[in-house]
Point group: C2
Chain length 365, copies 2
């Protein structure tokens, strides 16, 4: 079995095959039971889950549940990050308590980002964009790993009692002490909503990309072993496909600006990036494209629209028009540019407004 490195690079050829290998259940199997599935659920962008039925039950029975996500404050907030942000907001609208942890301990230990810099990035890049995307202050618990409660900080140590190095190695490979501490801190993050101080235990959904699977598995193992002391409910997770980089590789990379569209990019930058970089599934010449059609399945512009275009009918039309050669690459890119720029214009206005309500989201000591 392949090992996944949550701190390294990954490449995924086939989400379905990987899911099977790693015990992730297809999301499709549970989709029909969801009253208001999100765009990502409908489109199989959220393609897998672990014990999502626990969350589904809580939603349907109108019981309390929580959403937990961690953010790694390492650079600009881009479209790839939006995929998680949209899920946070989706669950908030369904009544979830939203726990958002800034992984500043982890970004210091594994990426050497100073804590004061992490603080600024978390607020200016992440929180502001979450708010602009629709996050409301109610039931939001936004905190920093370096500034958590005592019980939370102790929990990140107690979990070490429940594991041995053989299984750490089986899950993470040969990791450094810094990465081990990061992993234990993440386990505490995922279990934190269930502590007494947060009126747990309760169902918790953690929406992640596939690269976070080791943390999910590790936490679920530990949660089971802490049943006696804490009576934790096994945390649930969903797995989403990554928004590919402009070049068509598996995901956008914060350290490579030409790989992503940031939510603060201006019109011209967006246009330039899409035209210059967006990997095309079109043919070499217009003539050939008209005759044989393009390949939307490898076309980055089309892939982005699957994340961004709300109308299934519109998306379907674009897909077949492109495949049939009616739609040229330049035209497809224009659709995406317009879609993105009209979204970003509104978003950036919202972002300015968000600055005025920031204080409603930041926990006091």
């Amino acid at each position: 079995m392949e090992r996944i490195d949550p701190w390294g690079s990954i490449d995924i050829k086939d989400y379905g095959k990987l899911s099977k290998e790693f015990g992730i259940k297809p999301f499709k199997e549970i989709l029909f039971r969801i009253k208001k599935p999100s765009l990502y659920m409908r489109r199989n962008i959220i393609y897998g889950h672990k014990d999502f039925w626990i969350i589904l039950d809580a939603i349907n029975k109108k019981q309390k549940f929580a959403m937990l996500t961690g953010l790694m404050p390492s650079g600009k907030f881009h479209l790839g990050h939006k995929v998680i942000a949209d899920q946070i907001i989706y669950y908030q609208r369904l009544g979830a308590q939203c726990y958002i942890t800034v992984a500043d301990i982890e970004s210091y230990l594994t990426r050497n980002i100073p804590l004061d810099q992490a603080y600024k990035l978390a607020i200016n890049e992440y929180l502001l964009n979450y708010i602009a995307l629709g996050l409301k202050p109610k039931n939001v618990h936004f905190y920093f790993q370096s500034n958590g409660s005592k019980e939370y900080m102790n929990l990140s140590k107690y979990v070490s009692k429940k594991i041995n190095f053989n299984e750490v190695k089986a899950i993470y490979g040969d990791i450094s002490p810094g990465k081990l501490i990061s992993a234990l801190t993440q386990v505490a993050d995922i279990l934190y909503p269930q502590l007494k101080e947060n009126k747990g235990p309760k169902p918790v959904i953690v929406p992640v990309g596939f690269d976070q699977l080791p943390h999910i598995n590790f936490t679920r193992d530990i949660a089971l072993r802490m049943k006696k002391e804490y009576n934790f409910i096994l945390p649930s997770a969903t797995f989403n496909k990554f928004m590919p980089s402009l070049q068509g590789t598996i995901k956008m990379s914060t350290s490579a600006p030409e790989s992503y569209i940031a939510l603060t990019d201006d019109e011209k930058t967006v246009r330039n990036k899409i035209i210059k970089y967006a990997f095309s599934g079109g043919r070499a010449t217009i003539k050939e494209h008209r005759e044989k059609g393009g390949n939307p399945d490898i076309d980055v512009s089309y892939q982005y629209l699957t994340f961004l275009e709300e109308s299934d009918a519109k998306l379907k039309k674009i897909y077949y028009d492109y495949k049939d050669g009616k739609l040229l690459t330049s035209e497809l890119k224009e659709i995406l540019i317009n879609k993105l720029n009209s979204f970003l214009k509104k978003h950036q206005q919202n972002r300015e407004k968000a600055k005025k309500v920031l204080h409603k989201y930041i926990l006091k000591d």
Copy 2:
């Protein structure tokens, strides 16, 4: 080179040889520079040190310095623990700030002692006895690992950034994740007095038994590597011989009541334990003892007197009287019993008084 397990049992045949092997400097070399050496210093019970000259300079120049000790709340407070307590008080009288950490995270992770039980033991067994032995409230910083400051808790994570598993293995062998977390927490304890919140950096002396050497070395290595971020002064340490068990093995064991004299033992218990268990260096018969003399160097009663009898002259007389056969084992034991019981009578009265001033020593949140 032998490896020392701070969580396991150790046996020491020759303190001098071991010191050389592990880079501990003989305390004798520095003794003449100390204005008021303690009984333990004079008697070579404190036999070794690392960078004690830093402390000596601070004392002589009347500069601020700190003493740090950790206590493992695992059972009754016995004569072995008194050896550390006396050193705390010695440094307090010299003007040291006294940092006393209750290693409740460690006792939970490595000995499965629940935190509430650790709390009670720390107060009733340790703190009360410290006070009865002479600890004053001024400049005492008594805290629990599970209830430390945020900066302290984070420091125990940050240190993981400065190490790799090869050196952890070289120092501690194959330890469990729980023991690694305990070790990192101890590193944070030793460096804690030097944090900004404690107006550090400053010289810190850590009086320990030989079994704690791995933590001392580990911490000193890390302190050097954190120079840039924290400008730590290299912590100093002294190493004391253990008070042997009644049976004459290397140290008293909290889990074996017949191995120790507790500071709460009553007169009769003390008498019974000494007569029944204290390993004797005497001869098989009185006649033989009178002729050939006893061996004080292996006699537990005599060893105890080296820790307890303040008068060098008296101790010397006992040594030679025993060696010359003038003093019988029963008489030597009687000297010890009287010494101990008169000390314990007074101590137990002081302990009752101490209960009334406990609140002066316990930090508020």
